[in-house]
Symmetry: D2
Subunit: 502 residues, 4 copies
């Protein structure tokens, strides 16, 4: 008898590998060296720098060709997974330069670092890495929103209690609740896009942070690396090397807060007490000891990762205080922090999308609970204000009393008798009919009259859906455009290299 999992007998389906990975975190898996992730970016930077050096006459074509050959060999090795970073050679930059010198000799290879420093090289690699991550987040969020819109459409009339302070407030719909999260994620997308506005600039050429005497063409490398242009000051990107990282961490942190709030909503709605949604088996775990368990583990892990984001944002902010001009090694650590953050949080987006996709909604329970707990009291008050031409403040006092009386009767909505007693207490004259009092408090009637822009039903939901669809299409378009820019830059390099090779 073979036992892999210590639980699972009560499950119809066990979590797939990506969920197991998501849930078990780093228990049984380590992390790879940070600079491994930078190899493709460092290579790209090397190629662009090389072509520029040749174009500017700083490097001879002959030397350039040799280096290019070395770079290609390296790229091939990488693709085969045969290039390993040697810790004795410190970082990716030294490893690659050492490789080149080793392959093509110091006479050519020793020239690749001309007009460059590791300071601008790593700043470049990180911006390229971060830029790709930004695009990934935007992609993930767009997909998540699309799913939310689909579910919101399906549940646009699924009545449920709206809560404030964890207590019953006013009837709403499950669809509208989902849209409220979609709005938050849409803002998150705009935060990621804003990262481009701030940091899609080329730091290459800053060298150690104060330039160099070689006549580099920073415009050219910017084009070859798909940047909007070179940074307009060479010291700034080096002193503030923590900032693109902190900006991304901020966007991620707010996004994780949104995800954690969504998670918390689903965790509570799926308790046996609320019983309004049921998570799919795939996103639950059992216990090593309790046979009945179905724990909302995916969602809890999302919350854990929100706390991780808080800390990492803070580390990045902390390291950026009161620096002295130019590079300080303090900021090297920003690399590990942001990479950890990215790797911990990126899957959270797609996991949440999956949770939503497979979520079972208990409409009956939702509807039943909405009919109780005086969720119609506000509507009743508003109706009294209108038909009785009462000041709202007065109507409210009356209904407050009526709630108190109804509660004593053991009722869960405002009763005709208690309301009558209440308005009598207050000396209000208002003709009431028992049927009307009941009718006014009916959830579906309440929702059908709640027709505001942004409101929880009917027109409000339709408009919100429409607008979010538009915006999501916009996000997809932006993604496509940015990716095309990047592709074009890479093609430009290939063309220049081919020309050189001829």
């Amino acid at each position: 008898m073979k036992v892999d999992k210590l639980w699972g007998g009560r499950f119809e389906e066990l979590p797939p590998k990506e969920i197991v990975d998501f849930l078990s975190g780093r228990d049984a898996r380590g992390t790879s060296p940070a600079d491994e992730r930078l190899i493709p970016y460092d290579l790209w930077g090397n190629r662009a720098h090389l072509l520029m050096l040749i174009r500017q006459g700083i490097l001879s074509k002959q030397d350039g060709k040799k280096i290019l050959k070395g770079l290609r060999e390296l790229e091939l090795l990488c693709r085969k997974g045969k290039f390993r970073l040697d810790p004795a050679k410190e970082d990716v930059h030294s490893n690659i330069e050492s490789f080149l010198i080793d392959r093509v000799g110091i006479e050519a290879g020793g020239k690749i670092h001309t007009g460059r420093s590791r300071n601008d090289q790593v700043a470049l690699d990180m911006r390229l890495y971060l830029r790709d991550q930004v695009l990934e987040y935007v992609e993930g969020l767009t997909a998540l929103i699309e799913l939310l819109l689909r579910q919101a459409q399906a549940h646009r009339s699924t009545v449920m209690p709206g809560y404030t302070h964890h207590q019953y407030a006013i009837p709403t719909t499950f669809g509208h609740l989902l849209l409220s999260f979609a709005e938050a994620f849409d803002r998150d997308i705009r935060r990621f896009v804003h990262w481009f506005d701030l940091f899609n600039e080329n730091p290459l050429g800053a060298a150690a942070g104060y330039g160099t005497s070689f006549p580099l063409d920073r415009e050219l490398t910017s084009k070859l690396l798909a940047f909007d242009g070179p940074t307009e000051n060479v010291t700034d990107p080096i002193t503030q090397r923590w900032e693109p990282e902190a900006e991304l961490a901020h966007a991620v942190t707010v996004m994780m807060n949104h995800l954690s709030t969504m998670a918390q909503n689903l965790i509570l709605l799926s308790t046996p007490e609320f019983n309004m949604v049921r998570l799919h088996d795939r996103h639950c775990s059992g216990s090593s000891i309790m046979p009945q368990k179905r724990n909302p583990c995916s969602l809890e892990v999302i919350k854990a990762k929100a706390s991780f984001a808080h800390g990492i944002l803070l580390s990045l902010i902390s390291v950026g205080k009161a620096l002295f001009m130019g590079y300080n090694r303090d900021t090297q650590w920003t690399k590990y922090w942001i990479m950890d953050l990215v790797e911990e949080t990126r899957p959270a987006v797609s996991v949440m999308a999956e949770v939503i996709r497979l979520l079972e909604v208990n409409r009956t329970q939702m509807a039943e609970r909405t009919g109780k707990g005086f969720l119609g009291a506000t509507s009743l008050m508003e109706w009294m204000a209108v038909v009785g031409r009462l000041p709202l403040r007065k109507a409210k006092m009356a209904v407050e009393k009526a709630v108190k009386y109804s509660e004593k009767e053991g009722a869960e909505e405002v009763t005709y008798t208690s309301l009558k007693k209440a308005i009598k207490d207050m000396g209000i004259r208002l003709p009431l009919k028992e049927k009307e009092v009941k009718e006014i408090q009916r959830p579906d009637r309440i929702l059908s009259r709640n027709i505001l822009i942004g409101g929880p039903s009917g027109k409000g939901v339709r408009e919100n859906l429409f607008s979010l669809r538009e915006r999501t299409r916009g996000s997809r378009k932006w993604l496509t455009l940015e990716r095309r820019e990047i592709e074009k830059a890479k093609e430009r390099i290939v063309r220049m290299e081919q020309k050189l090779a001829m």
Copy 2:
């Protein structure tokens, strides 16, 4: 004999009141009730809501006029500073509503809260408050950048050592250093402007977070409050009430980090050891015991406030994790945190501007130090690479050796003899002239050849100055436009009120 200050005898000029206030913090001054700051915004919101209710026929003109009279009376009291918030009435919203009911009676006054909740009311007030703060920060930063540009222009040729790791790197100019900060502040402006893109939307009409049955016109109130439009979902701005605050806090935190780094640079450059700048007496304090003291207190306080920003950002982020749908009282505290942050940090911008305006720069000391500490070694290496067609890597090894030998000679730049010895060691053939070796390492020569985009002198600085001036003009323009929008909205209200009063 009267003694106010326990120090100051050695100062030519004592700090003006605003600096004393800045430095002594909350030692002898308390803070005013948070909601006092919201009175004008709450009044504005009340006026817009009222006009809309009337226009929609929810409120009769008659009742409307009465309330309007009450509001005007209140406004007058406020202007005279005679309206005080009563803690027994909780917050600004209750205080104002109570006032109205008190003055115009419950029959009219009791109707102002129709179709509204404190949940959307405070969300509205806070967005209006935050929006004004954003404009103030942009204004302050723009002025700070303008000053930096003026000083950078003046010091575009003031040679000084460029540092990395607090050690000598490569010659730079003081003007370029200032521009590197101007770039950072320009990004800060873009962060504040981005706040508008995310949050200049009207939450009014969300009521408790789930709308209302009254047929409110949210487009109209948006116009009257100078918003881009209503929020497209009514639950989102209530659940995520911490978010506009956290976004502002993020922008402020990054800005404070930039200011703290600038402060730290000036603190170090003004130590007796560096002795490169001298702060004006106005920004220094003495000691209660040490007669010789001139402490860079303004700058230290800026650093303290950066740490405050870190914490407040964190509190805002912390409160926004794992909330349940709708309003939770947890988020009420965001109000105090962001207000404290605003009041602590806004003056930091103008104080820094003043520090820069009055800064004395010791050009002689800067120039003298730049000639030492092997600041020209990199240039020498680059020159060798070019004239000797040496791989940079090899040239560097040679100069490294030469530095070691020169140091043993007690020299502070690479000497002819040591370089000769070094290249001999390495078997490099390169004709050297003593004069040339010296010449190559001269700071002014180095700078004159450092002509990159973004570089520390000449063309680089001129272009950077030009571009920053352009962008700053753009910021001013944006400010003017946004303020005009706000003015127009207020005028629209006045016109509608006048029409109503007729």
Copy 3:
């Protein structure tokens, strides 16, 4: 008609003033100048320093008497609330010294600052202030634990579901749950007590951080200020001025996390869905719009303040990084942060005690829910392991299957038929009786067999109660001792002053 509150009609009792203050935060109340809180401590420090200066012959008795007279006058003014800090004189230290010079002339008054700096003076004031706060927290926590013990005693047999992951786990008792919080608060007390071990040392005499040439007697002032002794290095307490504050903030933060978790438990247990506890009206608020509302506002505010603690701890930690030796003005701000934290969080302890004191527990609902949701499944598994000599792992698989089958039958506990089917599936032979299967899953039976140290019922709870009572008595004793020490020191000063005055 007068309307103070915008809600309350459904309440039997409105929140008392201290709760209104707690809930409305700083909406309509400002904060007083920070140094006002330090006046008594600064006076105390002045008196001790003065007596020491005289004893050491640094100050003549004559001058000493004059200053003493001035100090007494000042103390009298303070008691009458007639001493106001003048912002133009910066801080409490300057204000008091100025007052003395003003009253007794510079010839005598100008000598009080002999051998002292504001650096050690404020370090002293803050330690005295913080020490008093520590005692207050210990007192508050002790009272809270006492209340928890009382309630735990009353609810030692109140059966309720134990949860993990927000899902049903194993039956527990409400009393045991309360004890689990009491344990956490007891650790908090130990953290506060530990503050004494680290920081109850006298910084006076450090002067600017490097001592003085006056022959001060630091042992004497330590005795007069109830310290364990002088700090053994004069630079350390000045450079690390943030540290006693950060230590207190840490203890407060962990305590607030404990309180927030307790708050969250009560918030969830009091939702209409859980319906297991009901908060007293005093700790609830209504809505400005929804008549039925009873919101658990006190508890939400406690959660908000936990987030505040996170931020303040962080600011204190942030300011303490990478300082340069001696005093830096950066740390002045620690004063405001820690004072704000103290004032925001100290009432949270007593509010929670009040919440617990008035809490209504719905035993019926708790008991009813415990009988459902397969809470007895683990017990059933354990029983099978014992009577069937089955490996637990196997028993668990069987019960897992049984749960799945029972669920399909619509049952909320493991049914006899489903269990039979499950063990048959697995080829387990075990004689089952229907009655037994039911019996084994009964909450009271489960609890009666759960007799571990620390367990949820019977002996476990009794022992835990006993031990916590012991520890709480110990805390009270410690409090009394420390307060007596402080009183004795103050009496010693009075005696010395009387002797001097003779």
Copy 4:
């Protein structure tokens, strides 16, 4: 030609491997799976649990022996490094249980989890892991303090400027400065020791957080695991699973702040401008481009890691807010955070010890600078107060003026003529002699008169050294005792196992 490093030609000695590792961080090295670190602790826990189950008759000796055999086999595999965690089996607990079932069959192996849950198992593993880390930190700090004391002894008379606000204050000694850090580290030790007082308690037996019906002997397992005793409540350690981690993180964070401040002091003192200390080549790095570079990289990395500590503390605090009773998966992530923190920061202690051991102190420069910058002004003022019977306040004003006049003369100490002018200005009569004025300001004379407890020279330093030596001996003793306890517990297990095997 082979190029490993891109720099180093100017260095006498290159950084050893441990420093290269420290500096290059995770660039070219990944991290291992988290639970690998827990294998020895989980095995220990399994052995203790097993022996207890047998002793209590819950498990037969026969089954027990089989499992024991399996555990031994596993231990052997581990020692040979042949046991690898399988991610498909989630965590260390499941992996080990699966291994046992695999080797000894489910009939015996399936019983090891009796009366246990992964919830208490991981809480146990973590406490054992954290406890060992605490001991390591105490050991590292003790060694660091010992080194500081040795250096302080050597530099007890090395005169240097004492600074406040980065400006000259009062003469001090380098030895005293080192002692001020030793004091801070001694407090850190006390913090780590305090962790034992709070958390050296056994959570095993808590099972899922609510106990079990098996009659476990928690006292016995406590003895076998070297705990002070079982936790007295079983829910508390599960709900608050983040707390022992957060407590350690707090101690580490404060320690890292101390280290970062020490690092910052050394970074500034080793700038070319201060030039007061020189770091050993081993702790410096060069640049990839600038040949003259000697960067204080070890120290900068320490600062970076302080920022990391800030963030991790925060994540741990953030995850511990507003939890619901019992285990929540959110807290699983605390494992990775605290492990990362431990692995990043533990080496920082020994690296700093090495930096101190090899530090070169430039006594000449220190002495020379101490004679300048009016460092004697305070002493002069104190002398005037004494000999002229002047109020200090008046004496200070006089010297303030004198400083101003002296500065105008271009002097760097108070001159006789300027002081005469100043006292004349103020109408003070005091006979001055030129020689005396000079003499009074001499650093050595100032220090020789600064004889306070805790003061910067002579008796003060001797006493501080003596006291710190005592305390450090105490720390070593504590370490030895605690380690012996742990060894004894392990021996007890071996004895019981041998008995069982017989």
